[in-house]
Symmetry: C2
DNA sequence: GCTTGACTTCAACCTTACTTGAAGAATTAC
DNA sequence: GTAATTCTTCAAGTAAGGTTGAAGTCAAGC
């Protein structure tokens, strides 16, 4: 390789070390279009430093339950070649924050229902708030799938 | 079958209808030990009515990210044969509530970090709060895996 | 009493998110 | 200069959480 000292680009091993990911996972992510490394003349991958931030984003989003294809959609908003600007990351972050707010709110609702249910001690499926939040959905054969607000 | 009118037990089709699950999923859950139907002399499954509540619990827990084997551990606290009592469900619910509180709090922390990050606009991996919450972990090759509080 | 629909088992397949292993080329370390 | 790493590709395997299909049995309606 032999580039000048403060290298802009990282080998897959270096990216692995800094992100905590296995190299196999990083190759897999490339396959899925989440990262787009350059190549050395010999075919070795070279990642821009901003890749670490991309991968951090991937890891956080995963922990929030996003699938890789959904994460890719978010990352596709970033420039393909150049390093993302402050504004680029900002847009992603704002989306992210809105989603977090949503999740926090939905968990809060569930938590409240649960509190009510602990107190009420009901065992009737027809009455219980928590387990049968939307009786109309149940009447249509829908059931408790919609408890967390996924009503179609 | 031919039982008296207000039947205590349900066929797999009836359970499917009331929960919104596919019969194949219910059989799969039986295989995993999440439900334990009786059998008719002919070998057809007969589910106690409380099974619907068990399955509702499974569905909610799944949406919160629990795996089936973890959910089974929770459900194993319920009586195997008899219908669960109010107290049985109450114990489960209390665990559940504690976990929800935990999740809500962790999401809140992440949300705060994100807010700070939107404002700061930093792109330096060495400095950024959100993407590099634990620099010591990163120094040990750990990386952002620990962002949500999973620090070992 | 016979047809239709619901039930049975079992094996194979699917998707997501990766890991593992083989075989070989490139780089680094001494 | 050679030995040990690290890198490459590609195929196959794994685990979770199911679905699908075949082949056959049981139950309910008319």
């Amino acid at each position: 390789m032999n580039l000048s000292h403060p290298r802009e680009d990282l080998t897959i091993g270096e990216v692995a070390e800094r992100t905590g990911l296995a190299t196999s996972a990083i190759r897999f992510y490339e396959d899925k279009g989440l990262v787009r490394p350059q190549r050395t003349p010999a075919g070795h991958r070279l990642f821009h430093r901003s890749t670490i931030r991309r991968l951090s984003f991937v890891l956080i989003a995963q922990q929030l339950g996003y699938r890789l294809d959904e994460i890719k959609l978010q990352l596709d908003a970033l420039p393909a070649e150049a390093a993302p600007t402050v504004g680029d990351w900002e847009r992603l972050s704002v989306n992210f924050a809105a989603d977090l707010d949503d999740r926090i709110q939905r968990l809060g609702v569930l938590r409240e229902r649960l509190t009510g249910c602990i107190g009420c001690g009901c065992l009737s499926l027809e009455v219980c708030h928590l387990y049968n939040a939307d009786d109309r959905a149940a009447a249509h054969g829908a059931g408790p799938r919609y408890l967390l607000g996924d009503t179609p």
